[in-house]
């Protein structure tokens, strides 16, 4: 008889625990459902465009609301090329900064500089767009492109890459802004990765007479290669989907061409700009959704890639 209250309370406790567990499980399911819903709604939204255009959706250049024909080649190329330019700038910059912060600068100074650089990653992307439009665009239009054009106009491939009127908006400008936006992020991950190199290895390199740079190149880089590539791919994922900053500075013209300085468009900027003019249920909106779906796939693939590469290290 005296056992009953204890039993009852332990029953109730088990009940509470089960309810609590269920609640937690439910919230986790919600997170799963969110990604599922995101992909599903993009796919169903873009279905009309995919079935209508088929494979030609990927090979058509024109984005023509008047004729109601849409192709993703121009924005897709814009996204890929601007991301490539961004990576070419951001990776060396992030690598150098991480090298500086981990092994060159002294402790307290390095932590202050590191925190300050991390603040750059917190600046909203629309601000980067406005700043880029205010400072980088005139700089490219007035100084960089005329200068390069003057000196390299007659070099076969390079010449056509530099051609076009000096408006300042375009792939290079977008690449520069994207690079500045993702470099702090890549730097942060690289600092973590470099910090994880066993001190014993570094000290033995110094003991053998290596300079700091030799230690970096022959010990730290091989040791942290996978982590570094993971960081780079994660940064790439961010550059692929960046919208607001790019919309300000890419020029927003859906064309394909060799010039890196002519106005272009990217997937994300095209969605942001065309959406308000696309009525609900139209083929145009469906094409935008299809673009979104492609962007989602790109982002998922880059993240999975980063996961694989980082996983190998451990």
């Amino acid at each position: 008889m005296r056992m009953t209250p204890v039993l009852r309370s332990s029953h109730r406790r088990a009940g509470f625990d089960a309810v609590f567990h269920g609640l937690l499980l439910l919230c986790s399911l919600l997170v799963l459902a969110m990604l599922g819903g995101l992909i599903l709604l993009m796919a169903t939204g873009g279905w009309q465009a995919f079935t209508r255009f088929g494979l030609s959706f990927f090979t058509t250049v024109s984005w023509n609301p008047v004729k109601d024909t849409y192709g993703v080649l121009a924005p897709l190329l814009g996204t890929l090329v601007s991301t490539l330019i961004a990576m070419l700038i951001a990776v060396p910059m992030a690598f150098g900064t991480a090298f500086w912060l981990t092994y060159i600068a002294s402790g307290r100074f390095a932590s202050i500089v590191g925190t300050t650089i991390q603040l750059l990653a917190a600046v909203p992307s629309i601000i980067f767009g406005m700043w880029g439009f205010q400072t980088i665009v005139p700089f490219i239009a007035r100084d960089v492109q005329p200068f390069l054009n003057h000196h390299f106009r007659h070099v076969p491939v390079l010449g056509s890459m530099l051609s076009g009127p000096p408006v300042g908006t375009g792939l290079v400008t977008a690449g520069i802004i994207l690079a500045v936006m993702i470099a702090p992020f890549i730097t942060a991950v690289m600092v973590d990765v470099f910090g994880a190199v066993p001190p014993m290895l570094r000290e033995s390199a110094y003991g053998l007479g290596a300079t700091r740079w030799e230690m970096m190149r022959k010990i730290v880089v091989p040791w942290s290669r996978n982590g570094m590539i993971g960081a780079i791919v994660l940064g790439m994922g961010r550059a692929l989907g960046e919208t607001m900053a790019v919309t300000f500075i890419i020029g927003n013209v859906t064309t394909v061409g060799w010039s890196l300085f002519a106005p272009r468009s990217t997937v994300a900027s095209l969605i942001a700009l065309q959406f308000p003019e696309s009525p609900e249920g139209s083929l145009r909106l469906s094409s935008l959704m299809a673009l979104g779906f492609i962007l989602m796939l790109l982002s998922c693939v880059s993240l999975a890639l980063a996961r694989c590469l980082r996983g190998k290290r451990q």
Binding site: C27, M34, M93, G96, I117, L120, I127, W213
Partner: protein, 302 residues
């Protein structure tokens, strides 16, 4: 790992010749290695300085363009037609309302999901690792896609843009951030703490809520605040969900103004005073976001 090959270059002929003259002088090869080291160091410092300069340049541009327009009227008047002395009051109110509501939605769900991952989803739980992967994927999903998603989910069925759907979009954006920081912070709580709680006879939910969560309180708050800072500056998801509004509105079921949208609409305008408002708004948003970040980073250092 590849084998570290450090050439013992200092023992080359040139070095030995150099050391014979009494005082050691580096030979040509050693000199080259030294120079390479200097160059690499210099380039690295330049790379870091460029990033610092960019931040300074952004802050300087914001201050020089935005501070001029910062006045009491900007903060208290609502947006209006060009030349009418409009301000940003409705955008500020809209931003606060939407971010606040988003936080109210995202924080509990994110906390609970984080608790699940940390307390029930240790090694070998495939469901938990799937959730973790999906949270990472949501975190790196382009924010504009989250806008499109909520547009399809909430705007199309209800037939109109609304502040509520804007808040949901922001919540989706913040959720994965809160999940991952909560999990990371709870993982730092030592197992002995949980064992002590269990030994005292506390139920598992009790141990988690009043012991683990309590001792990880600081880190979890940091995560939530950083998520708040991220939401405050987001434009892309709001573009398709809350749309923006010229009038003062606190009705969550109607289109609602917000600071980032106002900046986006005004920055490309051809009216002088609208562009000025855009810069002032940009100044407000950036310093708000940076203030949260700095506070959080300073307090978490101790």
């Amino acid at each position: 790992m590849t084998e570290p090959v450090i050439s013992p270059a200092s023992s080359s002929e040139a070095d030995r010749a150099g050391s014979e003259s009494g005082r050691w002088r580096p030979g040509r090869k050693a000199l080259r290695r030294q120079m390479l080291d200097y160059v690499a160091t210099g380039v690295s410092i330049v790379a870091g300085s460029v990033l610092l300069l960019v931040l300074v340049s952004i802050l300087w541009t914001l201050l020089s363009r935005g501070l001029v327009g910062l006045s009491w009227a900007t903060l208290t008047h609502r947006m209006g037609p060009p030349g009418s002395g409009g301000g940003l009051a409705n955008a500020i109110v809209g931003s606060l309302l939407q971010t606040g509501l988003a936080l109210l939605m995202a924080a509990p769900v994110g906390l609970m999901c984080g608790i699940y991952l940390s307390e029930y989803g240790r090694k070998g739980n495939h469901f938990a690792s799937a959730v973790r992967f999906v949270a990472d994927m949501l975190m790196s999903a382009p924010s504009i896609l989250i806008g499109l998603f909520i547009y399809q989910l909430l705007v199309v069925p209800f037939g109109h843009f609304s502040g509520f759907s804007g808040a949901v979009a922001l919540a989706v954006l913040a959720l994965p951030l809160i999940v991952r920081t909560t999990e990371d912070m709870l993982r730092l709580v030592p197992t002995s703490m949980r064992e002590a709680g269990a030994a005292l006879g506390a139920a598992r939910w009790r141990v988690i809520l009043s012991l683990c969560l309590r001792s990880a309180r600081k880190g979890v708050t940091t995560g939530i605040l950083l998520a708040l800072a991220r939401m405050g500056g987001e434009t892309a998801p709001l573009l398709f969900t809350s749309l923006g509004n010229q009038t003062m509105s606190t009705d969550m079921t109607r289109p609602m103004a917000s600071l980032p949208i106002a900046i986006y609409q005004y920055a490309g305008a051809s009216y002088e005073d609208w562009v000025q408002l855009a810069w002032t708004g940009a100044l407000l948003v950036t310093f708000g976001v940076l203030l949260i970040n700095i506070t959080v980073r300073l307090s978490s250092r101790h």
